[in-house]
Amino acid sequence: MEKDIQALLDAVSDLRTKADVSAVFGPPVTLEGRTIIPVARVAYGFGVGDWHATEADTEADDADTLEPENGTGRGGGGGAIARPFAVIEVTPQKTRVEAIVDEQKLALAGWLLVGWSVFWLARTLIQIFGKRE
């Protein structure tokens, strides 16, 4: 039982070393004398839990009484995200990095800024003209 949990926790610790550079830099693609290397930003998260009970908790009180006397429970979950970050273009003359802009995120931020600016402008106009009246 302790071994199971130890193995689970060791597996969680190992995930720290699993992600490497190959997850970020894609394989080079050569086309018409140019080589393109796609670059992404990668992130992932996870969570796991394991519970064992082998004997009745005779000293249980209040919340502990809700737990079953014996059994096993195990669960976990996780998610990952990969976002295009840049493209490296290699030509016989030079190597250059072309950044990829997340237009959707920028458009959302732009609209928020417009709303924010309109709010402050309206507030300013009310303050100026409200005073004169």
């Binding site: 610790s13 720290r16 970020v24 519970w51 009970a53």
Partner: protein, 113 residues
């Protein structure tokens, strides 16, 4: 944690960022070595209670490209890979801070005059 709970093992990690270089990519006469920043935070805990044993673990890993090291006949140079989206968002955030300040200053000047 009560006196009846006995922690077996506990690792309350703080985020760790390390710089890692990848496998060099050879393209013609040039060799490109990718460089990334890897940020990880892993927490794990095991608790022994009377007749019960439980373990939990969670964490996240983020890998961000930083630069590419180019080695060729003309020498060696580091080409940074910048997060243009973050830079532009930073500019918008700065504008969002400056606009109210300018308008407050305008109101102040108008009232003063």
């Amino acid at each position: 944690m009560g006196a009846r709970n006995r922690p077996l093992t506990r690792s309350l990690g703080t985020p760790v960022t390390e710089t890692i270089t990848g496998i060099p990519i050879r393209i013609g006469e040039r060799v490109l070595t990718p460089i990334v920043h890897k940020t990880t935070n892993v927490r794990r805990r095991a608790v022994m209670r009377q007749g019960q044993l439980s373990g939990q673990g969670w964490g996240f890993v983020s890998v961000r490209p930083v630069a590419i090291l180019e080695q060729g006949p003309s020498g060696q140079r580091t080409i940074p890979i910048r997060d243009k989206t973050a830079q532009l968002l930073g500019g918008l955030l700065l504008a969002a801070c400056i606009i109210p300040l300018l308008l407050i200053l305008t109101v102040h000047l108008i009232r003063k005059s």
